[in-house]
Symmetry: C2
Subunit: 346 residues, 2 copies
């Protein structure tokens, strides 16, 4: 099973990113050497997916200049601030940068060499995420029987994480164990992360899939052959409300109407312990051009007014369960993830 590598160390101080805006037709890699370039890559979705954004930002911090205009610690703090502002909704970004800030402060206080400490911390964030993906897969694999069809929205796969994905982790484990599984993939307008990214990585892994337009999901669920819906999350409030890619909420309503279980898969770094409910989650509004067309193909009259929220909030009551690195949880159990101090968000 071949999974993509959306981020890699180059060994020469740069970070190699798979430019996800060029997929599926062009597998192009970018070598990132500055904090500003990493911020641009995150803001423009060259690297995306809540867990992977956290990893990319952490690695981005290792690109902060040592000394120069300011002290290294000042530069690290400035890098964290710069990266923190790249996207507002995914809480993993803030969480990973908080880990990097604390690492830098500890290194500075102990007079340790900063660069290896930052690099080790970024690698630890990545390794943690990879391990959490595996555990999410285990938490969900039992939901999928041989021959099942599951439906997903956006991309919460290997391209969105440091490992085998979140929503797709149970799919990959099922496939690896020799059981057949087919994935119905919402194309996920406006940026088509489903048809461009999820379809691409499933195809590489040899897993059959069917792409549908987002508006087809309700009709597809009505056919009765979808075992469950699996989606990722950009941020989860402590009551279980989930901010995820726009379209998730309507999909959850359709799943409820047809009695199809609806699971949210996410590592604990996605839970915002400061958000009591979905109303506390900031929703990113993105540029009008994303809705006005696609890759130069115009689909609206010139200057058309559009509305383009990148995420919506699915209320906890529509979520059957949460596939986390701590197992399959109910909404009321999310709070018990809180006590781990190294994972708390500021």
């Amino acid at each position: 099973m071949t999974l993509p590598r959306p981020i890699q160390w180059t060994g020469t101080g740069a970070v190699r990113l798979l430019d996800q805006t060029a997929l599926p037709d062009d597998e192009r890699y970018l070598d990132i050497t500055t904090v500003a370039a990493m911020r641009e890559a995150i803001a423009s979705l060259r690297v995306r997916g809540a867990p992977l954004i956290g990893i990319a930002a952490a690695i981005g911090v290792t690109l902060a200049p040592a000394g120069g205009a300011g002290s290294t610690l000042e530069n690290v703090r400035a890098a964290c601030d710069e990266l923190d502002a790249a996207r507002p909704t995914a809480v993993n970004l803030r969480w990973a940068l908080d880990r990097m800030r604390r690492c830098a402060e500890v290194a500075a206080a102990g007079d340790e060499p900063m660069a290896p400490a930052l690099r080790a911390e970024a690698q630890a964030i990545w390794d943690d995420d990879r391990a959490m993906c595996d555990r999410i897969g285990e938490a969900g694999a039992g939901l999928i029987a041989d021959g099942d069809v599951v439906l997903t929205h956006c991309n919460a796969g290997a391209l969105a994480t440091g490992g085998i994905g979140t929503a797709l982790a149970p799919v990959y484990l099922t496939h690896r164990r020799g059981r057949r599984v087919t994935v119905v993939v919402d194309e996920t307008r406006p940026l088509l992360q489903g048809s461009r990214l999820t379809a691409w990585e499933l195809g590489r892994a040899g897993i059959p899939y069917t792409v549908i337009a987002d508006g087809m999901a309700a009709a597809r669920l009505r056919l009765g052959d979808v075992r469950c819906v699996l989606v990722g999350a950009a941020r989860i409030a402590t009551n279980g409300d989930v901010a995820n890619k726009i379209g998730t909420y309507g999909l959850a309503l359709a799943a409820r109407a047809h009695g199809v279980p609806f699971y949210v898969a996410a590592p604990r770094s996605t839970v915002d312990f400061a958000a009591a409910d979905g109303g506390a989650i900031p929703i990113e509004q993105r540029a009008a051009g994303e809705v006005r067309g696609f890759r130069g193909a115009v689909s609206t009259p010139a200057g058309a007014e559009v509305w383009n929220p990148a995420f919506d909030v699915t209320p906890a009551e529509l979520v059957t369960g949460y596939l986390t690195d701590a197992g399959l949880l109910a909404a009321r159990e999310l709070g018990r993830l809180a006590p781990l101090p190294e994972l708390a968000v500021r």
Copy 2:
């Protein structure tokens, strides 16, 4: 208020169609001179919208050869069969062609000149549709107060009919009467009839609109400012189940979840008195390329499997009411449209 003219007589025996596949960036007209060309225009959605398909097919019949290889009546029947197969779901197509067949048979039996009889019947079908649009507008205009926001899916406007539209007819009447109304427009993947066509005709008419991706509708309804949802129909079963553009069903579920009234606007030619419920309505499956991209912009891996039903069925229990040429009806009242013999479908 400037409305488009999607179909016109040329005065030289041809029929001029606005090629809707080229909108919104190119306002291109095609002169159609053969039945085969009209069939192609219908099948490829150069002319679309259930009522307009009926009108276009009727006018297409007037292009059947007089005599030649067969008798004129035989040629008319062959033309009807050819046009009938262009698209399977919109019942108006069958209904209009039945009127044309009967007209030809009556003319042949009475030894009347065929060409003027066919032309008069096609014009009558068009005139009937225009009048029905006006009555649909009257049936719905009272639902919209000054300053209201309504939401629509696909295009059920002037570009879909011989008049001021079905779902958009109440919007146009509201605007004409000096009341402000804003339309939220689902882009309507895969063929984007919302962002390409509805936005274009509303813009020409001076009515403000906001385009959203289909997956944003549930989040938009949650904001609470949408007064009602207005959609058209490709076919309505006698129990009130509605086949309409794919995505309508999910939208109806979202409207129900938020208590937003959901109206289906259609002339009585859209009611299939032979269909007891939605299960009896054939659903057109269209080519994979429509989902795989848009106008040359690729959005899936090469050869991706897709599912592409052009329509879905919204069950009657999700429909607040039917805006028809006989007024605002409940599902149980649709049957009383049946007795009109000239409108019965075979």
